[in-house]
Symmetry: C2
């Protein structure tokens, strides 16, 4: 007898991403390359994830030095490490239980780190207060988001719980919602106006959803992934969203993990918490908000360490108690991920010995990101059948690709979504691993691909050259 | 308006541990000590968790050296690190995406590490084959367990899903089951016979549970936490369990995270997978089994890195596919936790330069654990009103304490469980933080406390002295 019939129907709801076929084929291709099979490329360029080290960017030396010294304190006796690194590591170890990064920490994280996170948030938001007791560190921000969703999703009621999500949307969030037995309700961002969010569209999505579920929350990614309004939302648009959630009594989930990735001249990240606070009472005292941040993104880019956090605003103390117990069931976040968060939000100060190198490395990343963003848009928009909105925040280009009807037809015959078909060809022929738009949600009849642009400059150039050549050939083949 | 009424009823089910009041009071006491308040002790001895570094044991140098070199590869140019450490770190980095521990890995973990885990399991089980595609690495084994429970728990059916758990049982597992909207069904271990498991008791628990839920799985901890049969289950008892789950069509969840902690002369850890394989068909092909292991426990003791894994046996391939998608929603396990698992299961070999120190450190831990276990039993059993079963596996002593009726009465007046009351007094008066038996489940009218014994020898002696003095005074006060 198998459990197949009996297993959780929620888990069965989680659909597999189209991307998984691409990932699988990439492994095969790499194996073929290892075995000497000749291809028009030496290795696959993997820009499928928002993962800076994956495509050639280097970690920040300061971050790695402090982490290494925390792991192996003997290093602190060596003068190879700058004095501020050693001092920082020493202080961090003193905050660890048993002075070891190998001990479990308090549920919400190491208290001193949580305290400093709240101070960072207060600074970031120009003085809007942040309280440590509202912050929970988790093994990646995704995990914190899933936990907060767990609180919001009720499987007991007569109708399913609904969560409004952008389309396009970070795909794992959609899977998490499905896995909890809830319903993702897409609201479409307006691509032609630069992926802006329109309140009328929120309204439409909400009203249509009410027929088949009970919407309780609105999830928003800012800066966007894979795309968002010029990749950074304007304050007035955020105010509209806040009024909307207040009126409709929705919980606001603000995924702000890309806050450190803003590179447009006119774009500046402003947090939902700040905008909310500045709107004053009654909104500022009542709108329930969870804001997420992560050491995976931005210039720190330490995805593999798994450190993220959530800050909760305006929650009932009894709900906070339930959140606490829920987080207890996960023990605690990885200590080195917690430390990475601390280092990301408290970088070296100008007078400290690590500052010059740190500053130089961050500047290099910043320039790379800005140049890659510009370059990607330029090249993509120069190709027939591509249209790419400007990239000023976040880590991705998300161009629309106008596929010829014959390509769409061929995709159908092979059982793939049209953009997956395009991505698969791009992988096979040009050695570029991207993600298809269908995994993120998109307007019916439109197709996209997502490319991570936080990659080494040379790789970016290489990638665009391969992509351009491939695309021209693809269009000829199917026109 | 608050979400309080609307929030998940499953999450509301998770009860707070009695321990949390003790943890909170410990923080206050430490703050008081910092502020100069005089107490009969200088600091709190914290033996509440199974967390070796918490109470003075040192991490294994080899593990920390390799991890530090992976984080900060410049260290590999230094001859301060042994050659095998550098070689190991180099090889590990080559298996990381982008050669950085800062990249996301494949869902199940770094393929080379997963492969080596399967080889470790095969060796451990005397050749019973293990397949990498059945292994998932996660941020701690608890997380993997929660994921497998998610698969098993169905909230759609007319009755709730039930999971048989030992009493006493690792408390977080109980909380996880509640948080998923399922029902924990306790089966009582027989304390008088050395915490053995009896099939008749499983039978009783199952039958009584069928009246109010749909039992689908049996969870077993071996070696036990907080207690188990001489802390290691005998093969014949394991065979009985396997026949039982097969007959009753239950999924077997074998929590084997303490497999590296066996110290009795006649005790040896044998895995459920091995016993199952040796029972031959049809059992060996049909019983569905998940076995959990972790880098948190044993001599590695790296709780803070968060690395655990599950191996699945005899699952339907379609169920495996759902498990894969479910793990996808968590991105991946922390890379350094994955590496810690690899190092734990592939320690230095006798001819390698790191071996002598590694061997010496492990021997030291082994001796400490064995001596602490013996010492704890001796001292506890010498105290009137204490009875402690031998400790030959796992990381805990779980003595029964026979509380005087007046103490029980006083506990009731203060609104605490009797053993929490005892633990609180022990904390206040002797500065020892333990866990009360009520958090683990115990026979009505019996009371216990749990003490972690994987601690520095001197701390153990200190602890036992404080405890003995406190206990005598406590008994006098309430007799
Ligand atoms: C919008 C968004 N939120 C969350 C995450 C997950 O980040 P973490 O690594 O902190 O779990 C990602 C990762 O790509 C993301 O794009
Ligand atoms: C029986 C048992 N299983 C699992 C765990 C959790 O281990 P991990 O740190 O790998 O999540 C513990 C921790 O104490 C435990 O006692």
């Amino acid at each position: 007898m198998s459990f197949l019939q009996k297993i959780s129907s929620n888990v069965k709801n989680i659909k597999q991403l189209e991307y998984s076929a691409l990932a699988e084929r990439t492994n095969q291709i790499r194996e073929e390359l290892r075995q000497g099979v000749r291809k028009p490329y030496g290795d696959v360029i993997d820009v499928s994830f928002g993962d800076p080290h994956r495509a050639g960017l280097k970690p920040l030396s300061f971050v790695r030095q402090v982490l290494a010294a925390c792991l192996y304190p003997q290093l602190m006796n060596s003068d190879k490490l700058p004095a501020d690194v050693r001092h920082r590591a020493q202080r961090l170890l003193e905050s660890c239980v048993g002075e070891s990064v190998g001990s479990y920490t308090a549920t919400a994280g190491i208290p001193e780190i949580v305290q400093r996170l709240s101070e960072f948030i207060t600074r970031r938001d120009g003085g809007v207060p942040s309280y440590p007791e509202n912050i929970y560190i988790s093994p990646g921000s995704q995990w914190a988001l899933t936990n907060i969703l767990k609180i919001l999703v009720n499987t007991d009621g007569p109708s399913k719980t609904g969560v409004l999500i952008s389309a396009p949307c970070h795909s794992i969030t959609t899977l998490s919602i499905l896995g909890l037995g809830a319903v993702p309700i897409p609201y479409y961002l307006n691509e032609d106006e630069g992926w802006t969010l329109q309140v009328e569209e929120l309204q439409r999505a909400l009203e249509s959803a009410k027929k088949f579920c009970n919407p309780v929350a609105l999830y928003i990614i800012n800066p966007g992934n894979p795309a968002g309004p010029r990749h950074v939302q304007s304050t007035s648009s955020m105010q509209e969203v806040i009024r909307f959630v207040s009126e409709k009594r929705l919980f606001l989930l603000a995924d702000e993990v890309y806050q450190g990735c803003v590179n447009g001249d006119n774009s500046k990240f402003v947090s939902y918490k700040k905008v909310l606070a500045e709107m004053g009472p009654p909104l500022s005292d009542t709108v329930e908000l969870a804001s997420f941040h992560s050491a995976s993104k931005g210039f720190t880019g330490e995805c593999g360490l798994r450190g993220g956090y959530v800050e909760l605003v305006n929650l009932d103390p009894v709900v906070m108690k339930h959140i606490h117990t829920l987080f207890t069931t996960g023990s605690c976040a990885p200590v080195l991920g917690q430390i990475a968060l601390d280092l990301m939000t408290n970088p070296p100060k100008p007078q400290e010995p690590s500052y010059p190198l740190y500053h130089q490395e961050v500047q290099h990343m910043r320039t790379t990101l800005a140049e890659n963003g510009k370059k990607a848009c330029e090249v993509l928009n120069s190709l027939p059948g591509f249209s790419c909105q400007p990239v000023e925040g976040g880590m991705f280009a998300f161009p629309r690709v106008f596929l010829p009807p014959r390509a769409i037809q061929r995709a159908k015959e092979t059982g793939m979504q049209p953009d997956t078909f395009y991505c698969m060809r791009l992988l096979e022929e040009a050695g570029v691993l991207s993600m298809p738009g269908c995994d993120f949600g998109q307007k019916e009849g439109t197709y996209h691909i997502r490319l991570c642009i936080v990659i080494h400059k040379d790789i970016m150039e290489n990638l665009l050259r391969h992509l351009a050549n491939f695309h021209q050939k693809f269009m000829m083949d199917f026109c």
